[in-house]
Symmetry: C2
Subunit: 402 residues, 2 copies
């Protein structure tokens, strides 16, 4: 039996695993453990065999089938998530804390070489977005804030509610952009439309907001009509590459991660084409301190086609070729960790309702994704950057920070 009462043995496990672990299984488990050698984690097999760790463990990872064990040895980046999702790996202890421990141990580990550089053409981009963002607005409503913002919030103090922090984030973005009444804004990747509506309602801007998610655009249009803002906010169900016209403000919150390195030049071209001579742009995106592919499991199950870039990758790919001037960069990594903590708590409170919508592996996969994301921001494996740009020539830039 699994130690510490960490979940019973599934019928699947019984079918696939020999009742007693062998010397080979135990040796394979040491390989698994050695992948995160410095982590204060215990590793256990289906029959209760356990590798101890130095000092009190943060948690225990229980491999409940030989298949999960061997797959983990073969490709831990992909198969830990796969096995967790199917229930063949259980975590005994706080999931976020266990993942943080693993992230810290993996620090400095080289990623497996990856030749994944698939460009996201229009069809693929739409398909990628569909997988994630068209899961149903009802699902997201269960655990996002009232405004349905699915990007890093900004907590003026750590005690703010998520609702307050998401409004504060929108105001932070508007402040950094120096947004004022009458400004023409284009938004690349608008989610459920909260920022576009906020810019129109609170600042008097007119906004054209692009998104390829059908469900999100439908939701946003309905909301614009309900709030009487349809005349000032136009939601366009189309790819950012089809943006046309000239705008005072270009804003993109949480989309660059989906663009993919091969299309950075195109993304830069779009900004260059859209931005008025004295315009200003803000890019808000998940990034890294050093280049590394996104975790293979996240790419397979959660965010196909996504890549969190380093600042240098964004500067070289998007910004420098057009001579844009970087005015301001801020790293909000710890705000994203706190945002994810709120999301995970709300997700956990809604587990029963979510279970009526999706199957158990889906619920486990999303729990792992939210917990893992929180851990990656807490441990510094991921960053959240806001970058403000203007054309190199204009002197209509803020004199000091707002």
């Amino acid at each position: 039996m699994a130690p510490n009462g960490g979940g019973g043995r599934s019928s699947l496990a019984l079918a696939l695993s020999p009742r007693e672990s062998t010397a080979f299984d135990r040796w394979a488990l040491t390989l698994v453990r050695n992948g995160v050698a410095s982590a204060r984690l215990r590793f256990a097999l289906w029959d209760g065999f356990e590798l101890p760790c130095d000092g009190p463990p943060v948690g225990t990872l229980i491999l409940k089938t030989r298949r999960a064990l061997l797959n983990w040895v073969w490709d831990p980046d992909l198969n830990f998530g796969e096995a967790y999702m199917s229930g063949e790996v259980e975590v005994d202890g706080d999931l976020v804390a266990v993942l943080e421990e693993a992230y810290r141990a993996l620090r400095g580990a080289r990623a497996r070489p990856s030749w994944w550089r698939a460009a996201n053409d229009l069809a693929r981009a739409k398909a990628n977005v569909h997988v994630h963002y068209d899961l149903g607005n009802a699902f997201y409503r269960l655990w996002l804030d009232r405004e349905m913002l699915y990007t890093c919030a900004y907590f003026p103090t750590a005690e703010c509610t998520l609702e307050e922090a998401q409004v504060a984030k929108m105001d932070l973005v508007c402040r950094k952009l120096g947004l004022k009444a009458g400004d023409r804004v284009v938004e690349a990747g608008c989610g459920w439309g909260a920022l576009a509506l906020h810019m129109a309602r609170e600042y008097g801007a007119t906004v054209r907001a692009f998104n390829v998610s059908h469900e999100q655009i439908a939701f946003a249009r309905e909301r614009a009509a309900r709030e009487g803002l349809a005349g000032r906010v136009e939601f366009v169900e189309d790819d950012y590459r089809n943006i046309s016209g000239t705008f005072d403000i270009f804003v993109s919150v949480g989309m660059l991660e989906h663009v993919g390195l091969p299309d950075y030049a195109t993304f830069g071209d779009v900004i260059d084409r859209a931005l008025a001579p004295d315009g200003r742009a803000l890019l808000h995106f998940i990034g890294r301190n050093q280049p590394k592919p996104l975790n293979a499991w996240i790419r397979k199950r959660i965010f196909p086609g996504a890549y969190p870039p380093t600042l240098a990758e964004v500067f070289l790919g998007v910004i420098e070729p057009h001579g844009f001037s970087v005015l301001d960069v801020e790293n909000l990594r710890l705000h994203y960790a706190l945002t994810l903590k709120h999301w995970l708590e709300r997700f956990d409170r809604s587990t029963h309702e979510i279970a009526t919508m999706f199957d158990a592996p889906f619920v486990r996969a999303w729990r792992l994704y939210l917990a893992g994301s929180q851990a990656s921001f807490t441990t510094g494996a991921m960053q959240l950057f806001q970058v403000v740009l203007a054309r190199g020539e204009t002197n209509r830039v803020p004199w000091t920070r707002p």
Copy 2:
């Protein structure tokens, strides 16, 4: 005679130039003009021949010798400065405005290919610094602020005095670093010591400050002793590469420009070696939006060995290899333009005194350097970046901006 009363004909010009310009000279002048074709500038020769420009000119450039004319055609980047310095080129009109017009016209022009990548080894670094910073403290005192800060100031409002703005800059740096009493600071490139003394006096830090300029270090030590801060601020006459020990704060204001690309890896190593696990670093440097060598004349006459990098060059060379996390970037370009305006005004007011210290070409060279620098920041040819870093692992970073 030169038009618009723009300076008389020098005896040198008389000796070298034929009394009347030829068809060849006039053709060569069109080549000069075509180098900045869109600039609203007039170009004139020694005998009064003049190429007009569309609309009212911002100023007139008068080439007073055939040598200046042909050298300009051959290598404008280097030889405009050389000829201005010797008096063979005169500028009729406001020097800063004329240079701004030229910078704008040069925008997007490709720099001549340059293979200049000389590494600044210890001896060369010291020699380079000596050329500029050891011109005599008395000279700098004539046109710098009271604190002798020779880097971009920070003007909370454009009406601040230079003295106020330099103190505000020091406080901005300390605030971004979250400096507090008892912090151990190392400063790479400390000038005349104002920031090191400010950190000790106003914030209670202990500081080790490095500089290879003998004159500056002597001045700084004398000041530390006079202010009773010698016990808390140690001025070390040595290269930044010889920094040893561990510090809570690494700060470098206006030195990275002198490091040169080939030594960025070394610079990053020094930060990595010196920074405590929860430490914080601030780099303040002149940079560019796109890579381009420093103007050849500035490199020859003013700043040998200097190179203003792009952010991507700094991130790739100094920051990413060590997994540092970029917390904050601010672009203070317009503050440097205003700082230089103050310096140039003070320089001009001290011309008579400076002329007793140095010869006429020196005074003209420095006027050109200060005016050209102001123009380069006003027109966006140069940027001023402040970058704040921490180690990738630490969560002891500011929650929000101070």
